[in-house]
């Protein structure tokens, strides 16, 4: 009996907690259906009509599909480039035989320094470097994003490759595979689970990233979602309902993707933390 009461109390605590955690999201949806006047004069009332007029207006003010498209292109390009450069370099760091082992260890440690560097130190210098190199448009954002992933990817890939016995690649080499074939046909399939982690971790970071997007993108045609919502809020800052509707439109696809790929997303985000 006592145990039953205890379980009952635990259930109440859990559901109350979950509800409180969800209030901000629920409230955002409610706000997105109210008129601006209702938000200001009757803050606690539910919307008088549940119409999508705010959504329609928000979509007319800023082309959200373009923002989605830009964010998608930037994230995919950056993550693909990351994989193309970091899988081979991780292979070199973990498998190749260096005359002096110390050189190899030094390169590995060097590549990990990035984990300790805050992106905020890099913002202005990278802006200058892009300017100096004449890089603009989406590339001004993609190239730094590629670099942001190097340290994390190296940590994950090297850690993973080291757990795999080297007989497999040695056999491939004896069978006459060249360097390219070795990477594409042998190493890439072997590190597949690590690739999933790396893709989720970096794609999510890029999808939600704001400070770099704010500084590097000059042309509104290149804006990402995060940059777009900031622009929207800055321009129509009294249109509370519109901003809320816009935020809901950005959150919903994120939640759908999350619901679909929950396991790999949670795994990707918590990777490294558990292993320490």
């Amino acid at each position: 009996m006592k145990r039953k009461v205890q379980r009952g109390i635990l259930h109440v605590i859990l559901y109350t907690f979950v509800l409180i955690m969800m209030v901000p999201l629920i409230w955002l949806v409610v706000i997105s259906f109210k008129t601006n006047r209702e938000i200001l004069t009757q803050p606690l009332q539910l919307p008088s009509t549940w119409s999508f007029v705010n959504y329609k207006e928000a979509l007319e003010l800023l082309d959200i599909f373009r923002l989605f498209f830009n964010t998608f292109i930037i994230a995919v390009t950056a993550v693909v480039l990351q994989l193309i450069i970091t899988i081979p370099s991780s292979l070199a760091v973990s498998r190749m035989v260096f005359k002096r082992k110390r050189v190899q260890t030094a390169i590995y440690s060097f590549l990990l320094i990035g984990l300790a560097i805050s992106p905020f130190v890099l913002l202005f210098p990278i802006y200058r470097i892009n300017f100096f190199l004449g890089i603009s448009g989406k590339w001004a954002l993609i190239l730094p994003y590629v670099t942001m992933g190097i340290s994390f990817n190296t940590l994950i890939f090297v850690g993973f490759i080291k757990t795999v016995p080297s007989e497999l690649d040695e056999a491939a080499v004896i069978d006459g595979a060249n360097l390219f074939q070795l990477i594409v046909k042998v190493i890439t399939p072997v590190v597949k689970p690590a690739i999933a982690t790396v893709i989720v971790f970096n794609a999510l970071y890029i999808w939600n990233e704001y400070p770099f997007a704010a500084i590097m993108l000059n042309d509104a045609a290149d804006y990402t979602l995060a940059r777009g919502i900031a622009f929207f809020k800055g321009t129509y800052n009294v249109n509370y309902a519109g901003i809320a509707a816009y935020s809901v439109l950005i959150i919903i696809p994120e939640l759908i993707i999350y619901a679909l790929f929950q396991n790999s997303i949670v795994e990707g985000m918590t990777a490294g933390a558990v292993k320490g």
């Binding site: 907690f17 901000p24 370099s89 190749m96 260096f98 470097i129």
Partner: protein, 294 residues
């Protein structure tokens, strides 16, 4: 791999990564340090001015305030996330009904863009139209109404709580993964020996999760030192820089006031401060050689 370890092949494999890394990671850090020694307003050439920026930083009251605010943010998130989320994880781990759905919901704020987290909490915290104050008012609890954002006192605490809201489920999930690694028979054996819930928690669970707790601490420290969008959207560091954190203050001087030299000095100092805090934490939590903990 002997056959393939020719210098040429090493270069082919390593060069692309190293080129990206040098141009967009190492050179920028060196540039930041370089700019930090100059006066530079964006036009003409940066002018070396010795260490004047650094002496200025140490007598800049807003910089001191930003350090204090960042300290508050760090402490609040450390207590709430390293300890608070642990209890959330314990609760989620009790095999209650709907536990799986609850886990998914509690985690969801972590995947939402921080800038939207900032925006949506504005609708909750706004002193006149926000949910909290209006609810308190409706319940006749007006004395509890506060200027959560927009005055000098509460800003940084509100920001801290929003950050905790965003990260709580994420950290709890890491703890849950750690809890899953504790062998059941250990806990069962303790139960048969008559250990209470608290005894099991303090004597078995916490010591066995030591590595996870340390990693969570690292995540919370690095994360809370980088909180940016939430501050920018809720208070924009104001009023009068009173809720500024280290990253938002250096950002606003660099890109707002266009004091690129001084802004980079603040960014460099911020980076150094974060680094020192992290080293100190890792030193405190290092593995003591004979320590009885696993």
């Amino acid at each position: 791999m002997q056959w393939y370890s020719k210098t040429r092949n090493k270069i082919i494999l390593l060069a692309p990564t190293l080129i990206f890394y040098l141009i967009y990671m190492i050179v920028p850090v060196l540039l930041a340090i370089g700019y930090s020694l100059t006066r530079y307003a964006g036009v003409g050439k940066p002018v070396l001015n010795d260490f004047k920026n650094y002496t200025r930083a140490f007598s800049d009251p807003y910089f001191a305030l930003a350090i204090k605010n960042t300290g508050i943010l760090l402490l609040v998130s450390f207590v709430m996330l390293v300890c608070g989320s642990f209890f959330v994880a314990i609760l989620l781990n009790q095999k209650l009904r709907l536990a799986t759905v609850s886990k998914a919901l509690v985690f969801s704020p972590a995947i939402i863009a921080s800038i939207i987290v900032g925006i949506l909490w504005g609708y909750i915290l706004d002193p006149s139209t926000g949910l909290i104050n209006n609810l308190l008012h409706a319940m006749n609890l007006d004395m509890l109404c506060q200027t959560w954002i927009g005055d000098k006192h509460w800003g940084i605490y509100s920001i801290s709580m929003v950050y905790v809201w965003q990260q709580c489920g994420f950290i709890a999930t890491i703890y849950l993964a750690g809890l899953g690694t504790i062998p059941n028979d250990v806990l069962e054996a303790a139960e048969i020996d008559g250990a209470s819930f608290w005894q099991k928690l303090v004597r078995i669970t916490v010591p066995m999760l030591k590595r996870t707790v340390i990693s969570v601490g690292v995540l919370v420290i690095t994360g809370s030192l980088k909180v940016f969008e939430i501050v920018q959207q809720l208070t924009n560091g104001g009023p009068a820089h009173s809720s500024e954190t280290l990253v938002t203050y250096s950002y606003s001087l660099t890109f707002g006031s266009r004091e690129y030299g001084y802004g980079m000095t603040l960014a460099t100092l911020t980076f150094l401060i974060s680094f020192v805090i992290m080293m100190f934490y890792l030193y405190l939590t290092r593995d003591k050689e004979s320590g009885g903990m696993v």
